[in-house]
Symmetry: C4
């Protein structure tokens, strides 16, 4: 924080308000909003903060190593960029800017099916960075196969299959704003894309084109790619175990950032039971409401191998493009390093469950 | 939501404020208020929202079937219209408007003893719709018998006996407003009705005319009608079992919308234990504070066969008559369908108790 | 409520604000305030309201009998007037007014040692009413003996010994106001009373004159009077059992209205465990934060034989003298009757612990 | 409170606001602030207040003895002055003023490594008072040894080793204020001190000069001094036991006043488990959020031998120098004496764990 070379200290809590005036209202609301009463959106953040930590002392934490591997991909820290649609609404360089920041930070960007830049173009523009491809399974299996194969050919290192979106959640902000993609933007990965400027078309796209994903779909996808597969949108031990049984390498504990079922449990509240159910049979990642290095420590202590951040990357992107996303990542790196040190841990492996304070009589 | 033919998206939370200026203050307060400090009124809503859900994935939820039967009556969805007095204060078409909406939505309207339109007239005006009759047991057994027989003759398909009203709860808003029925309205089902415009008469009616219902009353009612009987106002497993023992087909878990004993437990908090006590021996319904499709899923997961909504139907009625009530019902249908899909359920039977997240350490 | 002969419906929650402008600030604060941060003062009220009830149905509650006996004294309802000092600050008729109201309501007034009217004068002025005498045990045993004997001679039916006041709690409002008795008032029961108008004298009186009561003191008091004895200020099962072992007939679960140890547990939170410890060996009463008929039901369901109300009687007294206190009592009677009916109870004995909802999974 | 000789009644809750305008903003924020979102800072205070007490009656508490020994040092009450840096920012007499007040109050001042007056000068100026020396273990072992030996030579009676500061927590207020020591102040105990007026130098000092303390460091320190050693910054039973195993006499349960790991558990929440783990093998002290005599009773009931107060001493110092600190201490003494009396305890030993109310069903 005090090193002039280090990134400017940023409080991730403040980023949303800094970014708000820089975005069209309908774009801001699209990114910031959740479904229904937004109770899950709020609870995602609150649930981490309810968890109290019991730091250790007497460890020499002079040097800390945050690096790890996630499904075989090496990253410099256990913080990844979650898939987020439509980066073009936040910055003219769109997903290229975000991918550049991820590459410089030596972490993984998970590129969304709904990117405004084609997955090949993102790969070409940022050759050094590790990328995973987030797949919305389409009713059209050939389109789905094509997306997977294009990602594999372009050097993406894993497929993240979102399974919590058989229909879109009711996003009241978007309904109120009659949200539509700006005319200059497109869903670049999809050839027969809807006309961007028409709200009903864009909003209907997910509902009509996306499949209600079943385990058979996962098995089929498992059969058409050799990339590791992560399943995103799991909140239950039984579903997590089913993922591994059909060949996935990882599950991402997620409620889609509070954008799907309003009233769904916060990810922090189910992470430990999902991690316990998975055990050594796979890796567990988590997203939803993570806003600080302390939150990263909480997630790792509850069994996550790494976390993904969604909205903060968008606010960084809106504020300063690639540099803004980088600042978000470096702020989290600085905070996470310090949280490791103050918790008494030198490596990810040393963030263990005993760091969580379990109230006996509270 | 995005289908131009579908009803306008309505947030049921907002309806009350939209309806407020359309009603006389004393009528608004009559419908909106509860007893005492209104703690149960508020807790009814809050208790559902405290319950977090653990949605399933990997189910093909492309098509959902909300239809079910309730005490033998087929409905298109597990959402019924709870009995509410004095619809005439909300709209000039009164219960006729409400019944029309229920018929079009293919669900059940439970007509109140205290309707402003005679039960026969409601039945005649809306021949296609299923109706149940809500009975306030009167001290005058012949009047009571007559009400039941008139309902049976008019095609009502069940009797709902309210048992939580030996006296009216203390409704401070009504006392402050000196609430009285407007001069043009009457309690149409009762011949020797009190003079509508006199506050003390109307308020005293319940206390003097209604019986303090016992199991013997239920047995007697069981003996005089062949219609199925539901008992409304049960909050305890022992009382629920007593209902079934004397021949009722269903219990409605209810605290009268927070209008009777202030401090009574929220219905969401006792639904599971009542459902467990009833088991397969009868059906369990619930009302009180249900405001969204997520709430419907919560109620079904806790063991309800269907829910009843009270105040929202009145707000819809005040806003736009039959069309307003219809919009409320279709909004709930849309929300419930989506909540089923996002929870991973295709039928009512697939809404099971494992969808409720039980905190282990919270 | 709707009977024109019945007292005007009063919400006890509102009484404090109605009374505020009628009292000198320092008098209002003396009555309203608690010790320290007033956390116990607030929690006393909140703790009752946290308790949810599970009313019964199917009881014929057409007629309700609230009458009971408390330590052998018959009362028309399980609501007594707690001892409160200095009624003269609230109304010129002081304790005479309060005692008149209690007599008319057929309940017990517990007259404070610190009354502004001598105990004999109260007895003479209100011959029909049952009175108990609240005793502050003084370091001066002869003074103490004299108080007990005067009460016994004057027809008081029991002695209530306050044991939680070895020193006065730190009442910050009184310190700020430099609280003193107005010049025209005196502690009428004590001959060598402090000069009323001197704040430091009046405030020091309790600390210097009151004894730190021990069980030996109780045994001595037991030996000098044949009246039944209640011990006021008990919050623990062991202390309650000790009271009975030395010959007390009753314990009053009390934290002195949040005026002694700030941070002491709310009385509602310990009532059940104290009642369980006492069992059939004595009677348990409770005060602190009771503001409604529902609260009375809660207290009885947790094991109290009756409740005592403190501050509300003062607000009634300030508002309208004896008539105001009477209105408070009749309001509570009306509310308690209705709460009995809506809870499904006809007598005090039917208010049983199963009316308390115990959350299994909350 | 009512004795004209006694200190003016002060509510410690109010002190911070009284002191605020008397301090430079950056100094006020340095003292008042915590790390990150300040959640631990707030929870430290709240956690004590959540604990409800069950006072005893029937003890003769006319006279109370608060005196005790802590690691062999006799104190007049179980309230010590926690180590706080930079007293010079609060008052021109700096640590001399604070030490004078501690001496007059007959309690221990723990002098910080980061004092603005050299430890020898403090000792010389206040010969009558017991002092302990708080040690930041430096990477430079000779400097560390020198600090310990200087303290021992100057009559300090114990060494308090802070072990929770391998790096400084992220203090956002200080970053915003670009906090630096005023030009006239210095870290008097350290010869090669950083230039006070340079924010980056002063802020970097801790990070570069302080060691990440290990058990080997404690063993080495144990070998170079015969003074008793307390380890400050312990929140876990295992770490507490490790302290005793290497020869410490006491552990101080502390999260550094919410200034290190944001999200760390409140000290009140772990005190009992640490005390249980230590048992008779050592002494347990606690700091963090203690603001009243009731809080002192809570801490002792949870197993602490004494408490330390940090921020309140600074507010007293800023308000009135030595007299202000004295007032803070005497206010706490008065409050603690009264809390003992109202809880039914005459000595520290009589503050036992049964005074804590453990909710059975809450």
């Amino acid at each position: 924080m005090n090193d002039p070379e280090a990134p400017i200290a940023l409080d991730l809590d403040d980023l949303q308000e800094i970014a708000r005036p820089l975005l069209e209202t309908s774009a801001f609301d699209y990114f910031a909003g959740g479904s229904g009463t937004e109770s899950t959106l709020r609870d995602n953040v609150d649930a981490w903060r309810r968890i109290r930590l019991r730091p250790r002392v007497f460890r020499d934490v002079t040097s800390v190593d945050l690096s790890t591997t996630v499904m075989g991909t090496t990253v410099s820290m256990p913080v990844l960029l979650a898939p987020v649609a439509y980066h073009g609404m936040a910055h003219e360089h769109a997903e290229i800017a975000t991918a550049s920041a991820a590459a410089l930070a030596d972490t993984i960007m998970v590129v969304s099916t709904l990117a405004n830049v084609a997955l090949e173009d993102i790969a070409t523009a940022t050759p050094g960075g590790s990328k995973w491809f987030q797949l919305y399974v389409h009713v059209d299996r050939e389109l789905t196969r094509s997306l997977v194969q294009r990602a594999e050919s372009s050097g993406y290192e894993a497929i993240v299959i979102t399974v919590d979106t058989p229909k879109l959640g009711q996003r009241r902000r978007d309904e109120r704003n009659r949200f539509a993609l700006p005319p200059n933007l497109r869903i670049a990965n999809i050839a027969g894309r809807p006309t961007a400027a028409d709200p009903s078309e864009i909003a209907n796209y997910a509902s009509s084109a996306f499949a209600s994903v079943t385990l058979e779909d996962i098995e089929w996808l498992r059969s058409i790619t050799s990339l590791p597969i992560a399943i995103k949108g799991v909140l239950r031990p039984d579903d997590a175990q089913a993922c591994l049984a059909v060949g996935a390498q990882a599950v991402i504990v997620s409620n889609h950032g509070g954008r799907q079922l309003d009233g769904a449990v916060a990810t922090a509240d189910v992470l430990a039971e999902v991690s316990d159910a998975v055990g050594d049979a796979g890796e567990v990642l988590v997203d939803g409401g993570i806003r600080s290095g302390t939150d990263v420590v909480r997630a790792l202590a509850l069994g996550a191998r790494a976390v993904l951040i969604g909205r903060p990357q968008v606010w960084g992107l809106a504020i300063d493009g690639a540099a803004g996303v980088r600042t978000v990542l470096e702020t989290l790196r600085t905070e996470t390093t310090l949280a490791f040190q103050l918790a008494g841990a030198r490596t990810n492996a040393e963030i263990t469950s005993d760091l969580i304070w379990a109230p006996s009589s509270r």
